[in-house]
């Protein structure tokens, strides 16, 4: 059983996707249990797999027993073992949490929704687990196509935003495919390990450099790296809560993983950082991404949209960290994949709860929320602290590595950008807290007998099924923070090749 984990992780949700769709026709009640069971098996397998990788080292799984480079091989090492766990756990928790809001928002399309949901997770897990460059493209498109569907389910401006996302997403994927085509011309292989084996002799080739750059551009479009981010804010804002809390934490982060995989495994750090010599400009681009993401977030008056711009800034963190070209920065980028996925899930789940109860996420809708929904807001505060980077939540520790990396690389611009974005996050989140905490203002705030007559809205909290996963993720944020040392030493440090210092 456990030797089949790599296949199970992808195969179970794939089959479940079909099953759920059929179940949707027969009896809608079956959709949720099937989907959650499949995601649960995925999560369980990926955790099992990660521990096996930690104990035994890299696991190679040959699909159908065909040897690479002819067959498709799944390689699970420390890097994607970790990302697998994040993806599957996030998807699992969100599936449980969003049950009520799905029933609420589109009762007629439950089958279709869960089918898309599970297929999207399949695609994302596949991207992470596969060791074949072309296979990655196909899975990329599976994840993307289902993602468009999930975003468009919200109605309103959802379909239009999804369509714009689709244009950009397709261009991004095509660029990636084109880059892989050039690599194939040069190496005659599509297997990542195989390509990496052949490439070193070709590092001076212009075609290989072009392939690398084209792949990077494709991946950047897909991860919404500023200024290629234009599709993201609307798509994530107008998606239904259940979709946005799946898409927002995972898609950009998985694309960062792909970028790091290309840098570390397909190419080598030696090629990416030294031969190509484009690290400096890319880190400066990341600086611009961080600053612009932060500034654009400031002007938004809708909580969900504000958070989407924070995602744009966070993408800058990770791209910058990865391209600093040193071990610490790379550690920070990989750690931030984990942390950012978790904290984005936390805040988006909280927003989901708020939208479920208040039917909106504009700033005016948030008044008095600390009274109305104290538990949801409690978890939201934890998520916000993590995004600001307050210890002991995990966001602080990845920021630590990123800033350390910037200092070691002598790139003080990146350090300043990170600090600046933390400060802007303080402003952003405390503006939300202020609205939830102070408003609506009472007419009379004098002392004496009249004192304390605040208009106190009655408590109106989201259902328990939405709260429990939210609390779980909030606790995970702190635990991951406290166990950062173990995660870095046992997983991330092993995942980064020795050559990178």
């Amino acid at each position: 059983m456990s030797s089949q984990y790599p296949a199970l992780i992808v195969a179970v949700p794939l089959l479940a996707g079909l099953l759920v769709f059929i179940a949707g026709w027969v009896n809608k009640k079956w959709c949720f249990p099937i989907a959650v069971a499949a995601l649960g098996i995925s999560a369980y397998s990926s955790i099992g797999l990660l521990f096996r990788v930690i104990n035994e080292g890299v696991i190679v799984y040959k699909m159908g027993g065909w040897d690479p480079p002819m067959g498709i091989a799944y390689y699970v090492d420390h890097l994607n073992g970790l990302v697998l766990v994040v993806v599957s756990v996030v998807a699992f928790l969100n599936a449980i949490a969003s049950k009520r809001s799905i029933e609420d928002e589109f009762p007629d399309n439950i089958g279709a929704f869960y089918s898309l949901y599970v297929l999207m997770v399949t695609g994302l897990l596949g991207i992470v687990v596969t060791g074949d460059a072309f296979n990655l493209y196909v899975l990329l498109e599976i994840a993307a196509l289902t993602g468009y569907g999930l975003i468009a389910m919200g109605g309103g401006r959802g379909p239009l935003s999804a369509l714009n996302y689709l244009y950009m997403g397709t261009i991004g994927a095509c660029f990636y495919l084109l880059g892989i085509g050039y690599l194939y011309i040069m190496t005659g292989s599509l297997n990542m390990v195989d390509i990496a084996r052949i490439l070193p002799d070709l590092y001076q080739s212009k075609a290989v450099m072009a392939a690398f750059i084209i792949c990077m551009v494709g991946v950047w479009i897909k991860m919404a790296f500023f200024p290629l981010h234009a599709w993201l804010p609307n798509a994530y804002t107008y998606a239904p809560s259940a979709s946005s809390s799946l898409v927002a934490p995972l898609v950009t982060k998985v694309m960062i993983y792909v970028m790091i995989r290309l840098i570390l495994t397909v190419f080598t750090p030696e090629f990416s950082f030294n031969i190509l010599a484009v690290s400096q400009p890319i880190v400066w681009l990341a600086v611009i991404a961080i600053v612009m993401g932060a500034l654009l977030a400031l002007k938004e008056r809708n909580l969900k949209k504000m958070l989407t711009y924070i995602i744009v800034a966070e993408v800058g963190y990770m791209v910058g960290g990865a391209w600093l070209g040193n071990r610490v920065g790379m550690t920070g980028a990989i750690l931030h994949i984990v942390n950012d996925a978790l904290m984005t899930l936390c805040v988006f789940m909280a927003v989901g709860n708020i939208v479920y109860k208040v039917k909106g996420a504009d700033f005016e809708d948030l008044q008095g929320l600390f009274r109305k929904m104290p538990f949801t807001m409690g978890a939201f505060v934890v998520g916000a602290m993590s995004m600001i980077g307050v210890p002991p939540t995990c966001g602080f520790f990845s920021k630590w590595y990123l800033i350390s990396g910037a200092i070691q690389a002598g790139h003080y611009g990146f350090m300043v950008a990170l600090v600046f974005s933390s400060l802007v996050n303080v402003v952003l989140f405390f503006r939300i807290f202020e609205i939830c905490y102070y408003e609506p203002f009472s007419d009379d705030h004098g002392h004496g007998d009249e004192h304390g007559h605040h208009p106190e809205p009655a408590m109106d909290e989201a259902p328990v099924t939405m709260l429990v996963p939210l609390f779980v993720i909030a606790v995970i944020l702190v635990l991951v923070g406290l166990y950062t040392g173990d995660i870095v030493n046992q997983i991330i440090d092993v995942a980064i090749p020795k050559g990178l210092v």
């Binding site: 307050v390 200092i407 600090v419 102070y438 705030h445 304390g452």
Partner: protein
């Protein structure tokens, strides 16, 4: 230095966090407040139980998690941390009693939230006291910033919001904008953040300019110390309920600030390094300016709490000044002043609150003749004021004495002048008010000639702290002992 591993520091930090769920869930005020007392008492006892060990010269260590070498979440109880923990945990008990009286008398809303965040703030305070390295200190420092925000803005009106903004802007802005980068640069220079008795930056081999820059970033970055120009959050934070102000000024926030600054000077850079680079002067200069300017502004205030706030700004810089002198006596004086000022200032704030509870007055010009109406309160106020001025029979005399000796030891005559002149200023802003409260002409008095004090829950705590302020003159142990132990281990003398 002998060390033992014990979970006690962690317990001392966590005990107030552990009652939070009980506080938050209980609907009955009596149960809630009883639990706060239990937590405060237990916390004090745990701290106290470590005192003999520390006095023997042993240090207590406990590690929670190490995430990179040299930067762990770790506790280490030394003499200086013990001093601060003693002050804050003992004063929490008194403040709790006072809070009950004050909050109930004014029928404040959201008292549950108030007690919950009070408990969290105290956890953070003791956490700062027991931190073994800069990272842990930063962790608890930030935790304190965010835990005190709902306390400062308790009234939830527009005024509270704008003060809250100012509070966050200064406190969090400096800690993220200055301390965080400085901390990381230090770490990347030395590979450790562990507080050392000679300072872990001593062997970094960085240039004087870089060390100076880092020192400025760290000293000013811990803006809870309210060194000018990062002081104006403190008067703004006066919108908070009075027990919170007392907590801010005497127990937790500002003391955490100066504590952190002292730690930075002594344990991050080390006295030898700063002496050899002659960087103490910057600190002394900033502190002297703060003392004088703060005192002058206090002189011009009419709001009692605002006047006390500026007085606090000035007094905090005594601590920074003493340690910045880098002479053994000066450092001892600075550290002892943390304790002495705490007891004196908390008395003053309790009195201000008691007057507000009993009469609803906030401005000193409306309080002429208050001494006849509230003699106990005003007597306590007088004692507290004496302690701040630094006159016998109060504890403040001891710390000021050490500070003067320290200035002489460091051959800093201008500092001596600053100290003496500011004492005059202290007297100038306290004494006229006290005088007019007791000895005004009958026709000037604004109150009837009947004694009407605040509720006992308000009065008893302020009497207790006033008495302690006096006792501290005669038994300044263990504070002086702890401070001189710390100074000995720093200077090696």
């Amino acid at each position: 230095m002998e060390t033992i591993v014990s979970i006690k520091p962690l317990l001392a930090v966590l005990v107030s966090l552990m009652v939070v769920p009980i506080l938050a869930s209980s609907r009955a005020p009596n149960v809630r407040e009883a639990w706060t007392f239990v937590a405060a008492g237990v916390k004090f006892l745990i701290v106290l139980s470590m005192l003999p060990i520390i006095l023997k010269g042993t240090e207590i260590v406990y590690t929670i998690a190490e995430f990179v070498p040299g930067a762990a979440i770790q506790f280490r109880v030394d003499a200086f941390g013990m001093l601060f923990a003693l002050v804050s945990s003992s004063l929490w008990i008194v403040t709790t009693a006072y809070s009950i009286g004050y909050m109930r008398a004014l029928k404040e809303h959201s008292q549950t939230r108030y007690f919950v965040f009070f408990a969290v703030a105290l956890s953070a305070t003791v956490g700062v006291a027991f931190s073994a390295n800069l990272l842990t200190m930063y962790l608890f420092y930030e935790m304190l910033s965010f835990a005190t925000y709902p306390l400062v803005t308790h009234h939830q009106d527009k005024e509270a919001r704008s003060s809250g903004r100012k509070y966050l802007l200064y406190i969090v802005g400096t800690s993220i904008g200055l301390v965080l980068p400085a901390m990381l640069i230090c770490y990347n220079l030395t590979g450790t953040l562990e507080f050392g008795k000679q300072g872990f930056m001593a062997g970094a081999g960085a240039s004087k300019g870089l060390i100076g820059l880092l020192m400025v970033m760290l000293v000013f970055g811990f803006a809870k110390a309210a060194i000018m120009p990062f002081h104006s959050w403190l008067p703004a934070a006066m919108v908070a309920p009075t027990p919170v102000s007392a907590l801010l000024h005497a127990v937790a926030v500002v003391k955490v600030g100066v504590f952190s600054v002292v730690r930075v000077i002594t344990c991050v850079f080390g006295t030898n390094l700063l002496l050899s680079l002659d960087l103490g002067t910057i600190i002394v200069f900033a502190a002297s300016v703060t003392i004088l300017v703060g005192s002058f502004i206090a002189l011009s205030q009419d709001g009692l709490k605002r006047m006390l706030a500026f007085s606090t700004i000035a007094q905090l810089s005594y601590v920074v000044l003493g340690v910045g002198l880098l002479s053994p006596k000066g450092m001892t004086g600075g550290m002892v002043h943390i304790a002495m000022h705490a007891f004196g200032k908390i008395t003053l704030f309790f009195c201000a609150g008691a007057i507000f509870v009993a009469t609803g007055k906030k401005n000193m010009s409306d309080m002429v003749g208050i001494g006849r109406r509230m003699p106990i309160t005003m007597t306590a106020f007088f004692i507290g004021a004496l302690s701040i001025i630094g006159m016998p029979p109060c504890g403040g005399f001891i710390s000021k004495w050490y500070l003067v000796l320290g200035a002489l030891q460091a051959h800093q005559i201008p500092v001596l002048v600053v100290l003496l002149f500011s004492s005059l200023l202290n007297a100038a802003y306290f004494m006229p008010f006290v005088y007019r409260a007791f000895f005004c002409k009958p026709e000037e008095a604004m109150f009837e000639d009947t004694i009407k004090e605040a509720p006992p829950f308000c009065v008893v705590p302020l009497v207790v702290t006033a008495i302690i302020s006096i006792i501290l003159l005669f038994y300044p142990q263990p504070f002086v002992r702890l401070a001189s132990m710390m100074v000995q281990s720093i200077t090696g003398a």
